[in-house]
Amino acid sequence: MTSSSLATAPTRYSTIAIVLHWVLGLALIGMLGLGVYMTDLSLSPFRMKLYNWHKWAGVAILALSLVRLLWRLTHRPPALPAPMEQAMPGWQKLAHHGTHLALYALFFAVPLSGWAYSSAAGFPVVFLGRFPLPDFVPVSESLADLFKLGHATLAFTLAGLVLVHIAAALKHQWIDNDGLIQRMLPGRG
């Protein structure tokens, strides 16, 4: 996200950053699908299982997002290639930085709102059925409704931004033909 164009700066993301990007990216897409699917089911043991799995996965995503954020803050990502940086209109740079910033904010906001919703609904989150997470929100029907709406809204916002992110990556790949995507692809130096 920094726009430094030092010649010595790396041209690819680090392996850890690449692994976290793809694991969390696929996890978020899977979670959106699971979330949309499970909320439509009527109450059954199967549905309860899915809800628990969704919560466990959410806890794992939250933890990995923290690792990802710390990694991002301590490891400078590769700068955009200088010609690209110069050719980019101002609004695109703004969109580029803004989207990434919003994505990172939502990596935390979405799982945290889900956790709060679960607590408010009277179902404390117990990771893997063994490790109880604290409730930061009291049990309350009105709070539960609020966090449910918040969780869904934030999740769909995240989904929208992921689509923008993918569209931008594909635009670079297929329209601009600039190979920018190589920076984030595994195993291709």
């Binding site: 109450l43 059954s44 043991p45 309860m48 299982k49 628990n52 609904a121 009277g122 179902f123 404390p124 989150v125 117990v126 893997l128 059925g129 063994r130 109880p132 049990v139 029907e141 539960a144």
Partner: protein
Amino acid sequence: MQKTTVLHGLALASTLLLAALPAQAQQQLVPAQSSIEFTARQMGVPMQGQFRKFDAQVAFDPAQLATSRIRFTVDTGSVTMGARETDAELPKAAWFNVPQFPQATFESSAIKALGGGKFDVAGKLTIKGSTVQVSLPVSLSQSGATTTATGTLPIKRLAFKIGDGEWADTSMVADEVQVKFKLALTGVGKL
């Protein structure tokens, strides 16, 4: 002279009756200070619930445990776990089957003092048409005119077919449910 004896006898009998009856009539449940709650577990997640409506008929005399009786009835339709969705599900046939079994009851058969305000109340617990012999640990505490009986009874929900059919899977909803009760009574004699 004979007449007098009969009268005496009647007077004595009624005195005994009066002595025995008020002891029962005076013990009243204070619903506002009483609660019947339970904790079930689904995939390790504790879930709290409670019954909003219940009543108790208590004839309890700490000095006369042999004749003491405790009976309480719980309206199964008053069950709530705090969420609309579960509350809509619990009265159904797989859970409490409220239309067919609107009440759960406990009826004591023997009360044993364990000392220190603790009692063991043996009796029959009937839920959803199934009766199980249970032993209820009860602690009594007195404050002013109110005597509060508290205790926790672990029950096996499947013994009563609570959560039948697809819900019988105990890896999903654990078999053991902790029932926690607090009954506030007025009119109990000094412990």
